[in-house]
Amino acid sequence: MAGRGPEEEVAVGVPAPPRLEMDDVHKRFGATVALAGVSLSVAPGRVHALVGENGAGKSTLMKVLSGAIQADRGSLRLDGRPYRPRNPLDARRAGVAMIYQELSLAPHLTVEENILLGMEPTAFGFVRRGEVRRRAVEAIRFFDHPEIRPDVQVRRLTVAAQQLVEIARALAVGCRVLVLDEPTSSLTQQDVERLFDLIRRLKAQGHAIVYISHFIEEVRRIADRVTVLRDGEAVGTGDAGELTAGQIVSMMVGREVKDLYPRSKRTPGEPILEIQDLAGATKPAAATLTLCRGEVLGIAGLVGAGRTEMLQAMFGLAPLRGGTIRVAAYTGPASPRARWKQGAGILSEDRKAEGLALSMTVADNVTLSKLGGFGPLGLVLPGRQAAAAERWIERLDIRCRGAGQRVLDLSGGNQQKVAVARLLQHDVDVMLLDEPTRGIDVAAKAAIYQLIDDLARGADGREPKGILMVSSYLPELMGVCDRIAVMCRGRLGPAHPIAEVSEEQLMLEATGQGDAA
């Protein structure tokens, strides 16, 4: 194996300070405590996993580590020496490299240019291309991936290969601590195996690796130690081999999960959405489902299975290749505008890029899909728009200074409530909710679950709605839905009544092993 450095000795047990130490790190944003005294110690040649729910403080902790933000209190040490990065460049120089979920490569540059970006060897101001090539080849040889050639443009590579280029870049600057943030979320199973293989080799070379993930099984396979974060605190640390998945989950959640998901007695009515053999441009390949008034139908599946594409094709946001769609009394494809008129509404999975016009006000965002009825002669009077929005601000407890505040300034949970309020304001019967609780805190999640239950039940004497909910978080689907169907590689399976299905079975179906089981 390449790279026998002094680290190798450390790995075999000569006493040495931990590679990375964090001691009692505090950070608050305004009134929100993001980190309430987190301590962490990572030895060289070890993989240390960080797990926790969204909002538990993982990303804040990593931002402190990478110098993107500074801790209010507490200390960091790198190989025993104080480490206080003022910015990400500082951190990089000190040898702490972050590999984020969103890769940060320059897509139009080649692999070698990316690897040596910002540290190109030069002679008289000119880049020494031969030297660049030599060092790049050296960096990527380690990966055993022949398709990553040094002269190919990065955008032509797969996501998995791009991730490796990013890791190569980290190694080329001589990193000592490698932080991987959800590295497998967009990889295929085969790529995950190859990544794990690489992590093991990096570990053997003495690199310290911090591994952040939602996937507990994955963490138990690859990590040596696990730290669970909850509400900004490290609530538990242990050897990965000794902790069971159940123990980790209960530490993550820290409460009885059942209360979170209200499910009152619902009586499904007539079908209001029927889809037959729906096919999109690439995904989905075939989807058939029926949604009734007064029920919550869940769509489970892995990221990239084609669930979002199915909703978009259904709603006229993506091209259709085939199949029939019936919304209430209307059959056939339709534009988003027509869908809203037919009584269907969609909540985007990506509220920042698609769901909300961030620079516009709460009032504008809530009323955007239906600007009628706010004044005579079809005029839109801002006062009446605001009055309509105030109602939902109160009902959904949206924390803002008023309907005139820009959505940009709200927290993620409150932004999501604004996006949901649009569906309520429009009073649609068919609600397509794509990852309705992504990236929001537990309190906001609970509020959304309660709302979904109220809508499906028909609370306050309103007519029950039909809700189609896509989520990657199985416990949530299990808690909220009446029936669940699984999408795997663009194909939607049959909908199972919630009483007849287990999380394990859904997971097997999602990974394409449903038939074998």
Partner: protein, 337 residues
């Protein structure tokens, strides 16, 4: 662009210092204060000559061409687009108006309509190409800049078409002593009425909300069922119509339809919008601001002229002030949000 929501007893978040109404007025007032400052600055340097009513009138008259076109450009920029063909459309419309009046013998009012129509058609064509061929506005309107300029030269057979019409010439002529009660010549009032109309259009209609939504986040607009394509075509059509009206003003001032007139005006127009708080990223901008932006540029020019500065100095000063104005605007935005 917000109304006055009742104050809610909610604790303001970490960013909260201004309430939203304040923000709206500050955004509006910023350019106005800048205008007053620049105006007083030059007035003080020129023995307060610029404070006379006649000087004010002259400044407004000189702003009419750019100001009228800036009204339409504001809508385009709020929608997240840009129209580089504005200058060419102004020239083309002035030629079309002169052509209709002189060569076709139209009555003056119809010649004016012909000019506005010519501009609108160019604008609609911009919109259609942008939405149907799905090219970015910068490229499409850059091409149209040349196409429309060429068409203007073709229509005029490469020479200005002289007109001799009192009514049209009166649009931007200084008022005769007996007509002082009118305050401004018709051109000035047309610009002001146009601005008020467009302000109301943006603020109180569904179309206006849709324009802001598209500029703020086109995907959201589409998701919410906004007819993004139709709205965009209409937006560029409106910009063309305003450029057409601006062409009428050019025709009025020069007494000829000049195919080489209004050269480079698109940049003045865009600068006016940007000084007035418009963001080239879309979603932001105000009609009042754009008119004020156009006035600021005229005031600088007039002031430099009165000071007897050479034209090159005027240009350097104008350019510097554009950058400064936008830099201040961004600084204010960063503070406020």
């Amino acid at each position: 662009m917000t109304s006055a929501p009742p104050e809610l007893p909610v604790d303001a978040g970490p960013q909260g210092r201004f309430s939203v109404d304040w923000l709206y007025w500050i955004n509006l007032l910023g350019p106005v204060l800048a205008l007053i400052a620049v105006y007083l600055f030059f007035a003080a340097l020129t023995d307060w000559k610029m404070l006379r009513l006649a000087a004010v009138e002259s400044i407004i008259i000189q702003t009419v061409i750019v100001g009228t076109a800036a009204v339409g450009m504001t809508v385009v920029i709020i929608s997240g687009g840009i129209d580089l063909s504005a200058g060419s459309m102004i020239a083309f419309s002035s030629v079309a108006g002169a052509y209709a009046l002189v060569k076709l013998g139209f009555p003056p009012i119809l010649a004016v309509a012909a000019a506005v129509c010519a501009g609108s058609m160019c604008g609609l064509l911009n919109g259609v190409i942008i939405t149907r061929v799905k090219l970015v506005p910068f490229i499409v309107t850059l091409g149209m800049l040349l196409v429309v300029r060429g068409a203007a030269k073709g229509l005029a057979e490469s020479a200005p078409i002289n007109i001799n019409n009192e009514w049209i010439a009166g649009f931007v002529k200084t008022l005769a002593p007996g007509e002082r009660w009118k305050l401004l010549p018709p051109g000035g009032w047309i610009m002001i009425l146009l601005a008020v109309g467009f302000w109301a259009l943006l603020r109180y209609t569904r179309f206006g909300r849709h324009v802001f939504a598209i500029g703020s986040n086109e995907q959201t607009a589409r998701l919410c069922g906004v007819g993004v394509e139709q709205v965009k075509i209409f937006v560029y059509g409106l910009c063309g119509a305003c450029a057409g009206l601006s062409g009428v003003m050019l025709l009025s001032r020069q007494n000829q339809g000049d195919p080489t007139g209004a050269m480079g005006y698109e940049l003045d127009v865009i600068a006016a919008v940007v000084i007035g708080g418009g963001s080239l990223a879309g979603g932001e901008g105000s009609i009042v601001g754009s008119i004020v932006g156009a006035l600021i540029m005229t005031v600088i020019r007039t002031g430099c002229n009165l000071l007897g500065l050479q034209p090159w100095i005027t240009q350097v000063v104008t350019g510097g002030i554009i950058v400064l104005a936008v830099a201040l605007d961004r600084l204010r935005h960063r503070r406020a949000t």
